[in-house]
Amino acid sequence: MTLPAALLTPLLTGTPAFAGLLSPETGGSPNADKISTLWWLIFSMALVVFFVVGGALIYAVTKFRAGNGRVARQIHGNTRFEIGCTIGAACILVFITVVTFITLPGIKNPERTSNDGLSLASGTLFASTDQPQPPGGKALRVKVNGQQYVWRFQYPGAQKVYSYVQMVVPANTTVVLDITSDDVNHSWWIPKLGGKMDAIPGYTNHSWFKAREGVYNGQCAELCGRNHANMLAQVRVLPPDQFEQWYANQAKRLQQAKAGQAAARPRYEDQ
């Protein structure tokens, strides 16, 4: 069987070779990577517990099978053993608690935008929030809005640039997300870019990522109606200069569309 080998290799080498099969997806954003690290720490404990307790159960059933005139030993319990097991279980849980709170800030709090990221003015694109600000205060703030069955992304700035389905962002730049919904509950999730956050009407939820160049796919993770399965999302991460180009382009296209709309409106109103 290759399974035990598959289980052990990542533990021995520490590489996320089995991301997506034995551990959450990684390789897009630091928060996703740190969740995976935490996963492997818990996984190692879980594996020990699985083999010790599960092994004991299987051993007990097979080894003590009736036969050969053996007589069952009439034991009613062992308080010391019970207390020992309780303490053992508690120790494992304390360990997991400690490592969770050690890794938590790196998962929850946005990172500093890298030097090769988009050059953003300090603070200008960042409003106050209960999610801590990234160090340096430089981040691209995108409003993510869930609607049956599409995601809408609203960019900061006077031009009011927005897009649907595909979010385009600059590489190595901290992107902070304000997640809302217009209708029913949705959940924002790009597996390689960290955990999911629910979009609930009436509330604003927060998340962040800082991605390397590439295209990352995800989809809505909360049942939102019949076409829940078709509510796809994509994050395209471009080098900062290409992002700025896209941003200007998108602004222009939206402007043109708006003008076209304005020109067309009287025709409809006349009819």
Binding site: E25, A32, F43, L57, A60, R65, E82, D130
Partner: protein
């Protein structure tokens, strides 16, 4: 009962305590006797048959979903039909199978286990059953119109009038009301019975562990289902009478529903599994021929789990907007509940240890149930760590996790209970060979279906999607899962066939076929309408073992082989 049996053929049989039945008639017969009955045994059997029908229906719904997901881009089911199926499957399995199945078994065996004539309120008991049946019929009647499609959890706003305009949602609400009332009234009945009607000498420390499980189940139902009844009433009012409890545009809160629902929903998880834990705790000592290991620890951990189970609900909603301190509280409370649960598993292993384990079907289902539940417990730890849960929640990882716990404990426990108590209920044995074949198929089928779903979830497959593209790479995992579900379904079918055949043609069981420990085996199979002529004084948690020992002592070694007909004094 004859005392003239051939002594030579019985040389190796240990004497068994039996009592004289003064009145062995089986009571009134015919369909009217079922409709009008207040006998806990008949009501129990009606519960179990109804559960069996709903279990098969819920299974068919699951199979249709697995067929749809077996290959990418499948067009077998429309999104509308898929959502209806997923709602019906969840609702059926939770409200119409795993909760009432324990009401069914308990109805039958609880008065027998504690040496009572019936439950405390027999007519209320009949009413509970009919409310349950009508609740189920209400839900399934919606198949003729527009079934609900907002999921068994019916999150608002999706379940509100604006987004689910059809009356299927009302059918769901009435189903929750009827079955909820059924469960609450039934639970009050069990609580009154357990507190007041135990046999002489059966103190709290001698209560069978299944009865402990059912007592705690009952208390949890009274708390959790009352809360749910209020919650769904709010939804009913929002949908039909212009209130705005859950409408954020009118000052309501969509999150409120999630909190209220899971305040019911998490205790519900323990409502499903605690009776199954009780079954494990009854069956293991019988077939290991050993006393239960750590009776007090198991009983205490049952109560501890119930209390803690009321404090962990928000771990179902770690991804909603929540402050870190709340997340941390619910992570730690979920950790704490793992400890008493782990203690139970250790005690079951302790019960098997140095025993003489007989591989009967009931035992196999129970051990497999413990193993499967244990795996679900381990994945539960990952889910309790909220930063990790952000990756896992609402994916197939969660689907796998709760099937490991709910199917692992509740469904395996249900099969274990069926194989264990069927001889008592019918007077006939289930076939062991068919039973073991069913066990192997169910066990293998289950793990093939659900183990791979962890990986599907980790690689990004969300729950509740009716289709996926082949580019996602989830095709193979889903195909394996669908094949597994087919094996599982065949396994269940074998047990159903076994049930139908054995009920007419099974070998005669006799009063105590397993040489078990508890009082339900101290009467004929099936028991007469009044259950017992004489109820022995209970001196330990294993009264039948005491009685066997007493019979041996009184009959003496010379008469060891003599067929027993001992009248045991009260």
């Amino acid at each position: 009962m004859s005392i003239t049996a051939d002594t030579r053929t019985n040389v190796r049989t240990r004497p068994r305590p039996e009592i004289i039945q003064h009145e062995v008639g089986s009571g009134p017969q015919g369909w009217t006797s079922w409709v009008t009955t207040t006998d806990h045994k008949k009501i129990g059997i009606m519960y179990l048959w109804t559960v069996a029908v709903f279990f098969v229906l819920g299974g068919v719904e699951a199979m249709l979903m697995r067929l749809q997901l077996g290959v990418p881009d499948n067009t077998l089911l429309s999104p509308e039909k898929y959502n209806e199926l997923l709602t019906l499957h969840g609702t059926t399995m939770i409200f119409l199978v795993v909760v009432p199945v324990w009401a069914g078994f308990t109805n039958y065996v609880l008065p027998l286990m504690i040496g009572a004539r019936d439950v405390a309120f027999p007519r209320l008991n009949a009413w509970s059953f009919w409310m349950y049946l009508f609740g189920g019929l209400t839900l399934y009647a919606s198949l003729l119109f527009t079934p609900p499609e907002a999921g068994w959890f019916s999150y608002v706003p999706l379940s509100s009038r604006d987004y689910s305009a059809s009356n299927g949602q009302e059918a769901w609400i009435y189903m929750v009301h009827l079955t909820g009332l059924s469960s609450i009234v039934g639970s009050i009945n069990f609580i009154a019975t357990i507190h007041n009607m135990r046999a002489k000498g059966m103190g709290w420390g001698r209560l069978p562990l299944f009865v402990w499980g059912m007592l705690i189940y009952s208390y949890l139902i009274v708390i959790a289902l009352s809360s749910l009844a209020a919650t769904v009433t709010m939804l009913l009012l929002d949908r039909n009478f212009g209130t705005n409890f859950f409408d954020p545009t009118q000052g309501g809160s969509a999150l409120l529903w999630q909190h209220l629902f899971w305040f019911f929903g998490h205790p519900e998880v323990y409502i499903l599994v605690l009776p199954a834990f009780g079954v494990f705790s009854e069956v293991l000592p019988v077939f290991a021929r050993k006393p239960i290991f750590g009776y007090k620890a198991i009983a205490a951990s049952t109560a501890g789990i119930a209390f803690l189970g009321l404090l962990v609900w928000a771990h179902h909603m770690f991804a909603v907007p929540t402050s870190t301190v709340v997340l941390a509280f619910f992570m730690l409370s979920s950790f704490v509940i793992a400890v008493p649960t782990g203690i139970k598993i250790i005690n079951w292993i302790g019960t098997l240890w140095h025993g003489t384990v007989e591989y009967r079907t009931a035992l196999l289902f129970c051990v497999a149930g413990i193993f499967t539940f244990f795996m679900g417990g381990i994945t539960g730890i990952f889910l309790a760590v909220f930063p990790v849960d952000w990756q896992l929640t609402d994916t197939y990882f969660v689907v796998a996790h709760f099937h490991y716990t709910a199917f692992g404990a509740a469904a395996f426990g249900m099969f274990g209970a069926l194989y264990y108590w069927f001889p008592k209920m019918s007077g006939r044995m289930l076939s062991e060979s068919l039973g073991k074949a069913s066990f192997v198929l169910v066990f293998v089928g289950f793990h093939v279906t659900f183990l791979i779903q962890h990986a599907a979830g980790l690689s990004g497959m969300p729950r509740r999607i009716y289709e996926y593209e082949s580019s996602t790479g989830w095709g193979l995992m889903n195909l394996i899962s669908s094949i597994g579900s087919l094996i599982l379904a065949i396994g269940v079918l074998v047990s159903v066939i076994n049930l139908l055949v054995s009920i007419k043609k099974g070998a005669k069981a006799g009063g105590d076929p397993w040489k078990a420990n508890t009082l339900e085996w101290y009467t004929t199979s099936p028991p007469p309408e009044h259950n017992f002529d004489v109820i022995p004084r209970v001196r330990s948690v294993e009264p039948m073992k005491d009685l066997r020992r007493q019979v041996e002592q009184e009959s003496g070694e010379q008469q060891r082989h003599k067929p027993s007909r001992a009248v045991v004094e009260a």
